[in-house]
Amino acid sequence: MAFLEVKDYRKKFGENEVLKGISFSLEKGEVLAIIGSSGGGKTTLLRCLNFLEIPDEGTLTLNGETLFDASEKKQNTESQIREKRLHFGLVFQQFNLFPQYTVFRNITLAQALLAGQAFAQKKREFAAARRAAPKEKRRALKAEHRRILAEIRENQKRGIAEKTDALLERVGLADKKNAYPYELSGGQQQRVAIARALALSPDILCFDEPTSALDPELTGEVLKVIKGLKSSDSTMIVVTHEMEFAKNVADRVIFIADGRIEEEGTPAEVFGDPKSEKTAAFLRKSLEELF
């Protein structure tokens, strides 16, 4: 069984069926490129993978675990969905950085909140343990617990800071750690957004046209970072209009048209010898746009 298996994903908005049964699988460490003309449902598919939209039908299996099954409505409460989301990361076309925070804080915020929750949990456990302990021992326990908690907090802080510094190094923005988003170029903002998504170590990182909102001269730096992630064994799904990028970086390519997978294969198969006439027409058209 593959690392990620999506089966028969369907999604309707009112009467408009946007995903008409999408099934695909992906191995760990692979890069999947999704291409297709606009309105085909690529964004909707990524949003479904990240549970920003809930599919009407279909199942999703990750690492052998059924993460989502549309027929079981009960298991999809808000907090359950939130946990599932952590398996996936999403980099948006429009970056969506938090403007009031520095680059560093943008990357650490979600981690810090999760760490805070873990810390609070530990604190509650300790408090319960003290209540259960005999009275004369409580005072000693309290001191002990206080010491451990301080240590936990210290480790959390250091861990997050070290990880963030490494991420900033990786996206080439170590010198922008304390800058605010408005002080950065689009390409730099998108690289911060990538670091922010990586910070939670998602199993699968999704990109929705990560360079479409950028000036042409800035796309290169972002694509280079994504390419760099491939060598570090990240599993990625990239919706893109950059055919060269898809050809060179992707292990597999999916062409989506009108809510269906029209063509699927290695880059050589899809780009070199498309089986479907729709795919061929799309590829011809995107070539023309290039010149």
Binding site: N50, L52, E78, S79, R82, E83, R85, L86, F88, G89, L90, F92, Q94, N96, L97, F98, P99, Q100, Y101, L109, A110, L113, L114, Y180, P181, Y182, R196, A197, L200
Partner: protein, 213 residues
Amino acid sequence: MFWQISLELLQGFGVTCLIFAATLLFALPLGLVLSFGSMSRFKPLKYVVKVFVWIIRGTPLMLQILVVYYGPALIFHWGFLDRIVAVVVAFVINYACYFSEIYRGGIESISKGQYEAGQVLGMTRSQIFFRVVLLQVVKRIVPPMSNEVITLVKDTSLARIIVVEEILKVAYDFTVTGLIWPLFYTAVYYLVFVGLLTLLFGWLEKKLQYFKV
């Protein structure tokens, strides 16, 4: 004579400040509750709140003060509220409605992408509101809020319609004895107060200039 009158006006100004402070204290949070109501996905609640806001914003505050003060006594034959309490109740309701519209505008101006970025990072709804959205909203609403708060300073003079001894009422009472100048002199109090508020809001705006939304 001048100091005597200054002091009496200052007492009236104390009442003015009391109405001002009590109104802000209650209307600021109540406005937030109303704004959530007017954005609710539960349609009946949304429309009830919207109609309520329309009525309050569509009628004079002076009328609302009269209704709060005389209404319960005339309609239900209850006793009268304390005058100052009636004034504060009317002001709180009125200003909460105005604030709610400002809050709503601010909250709705935040792009969906900010919420979604928080969601895909595993944040809870309240974490997204307090950690991501709130400060951006505050930055956006400081200018309209400053207008509204400055208007409130001057609106307090409406309280004299039910004989609350705020500064303008005190000054007006002097005219009966033939003294006109205290009435004009009240402007000094208002101007100083509004001047301080202007400085405060200017400072706040500057504080929030470190980022751009």
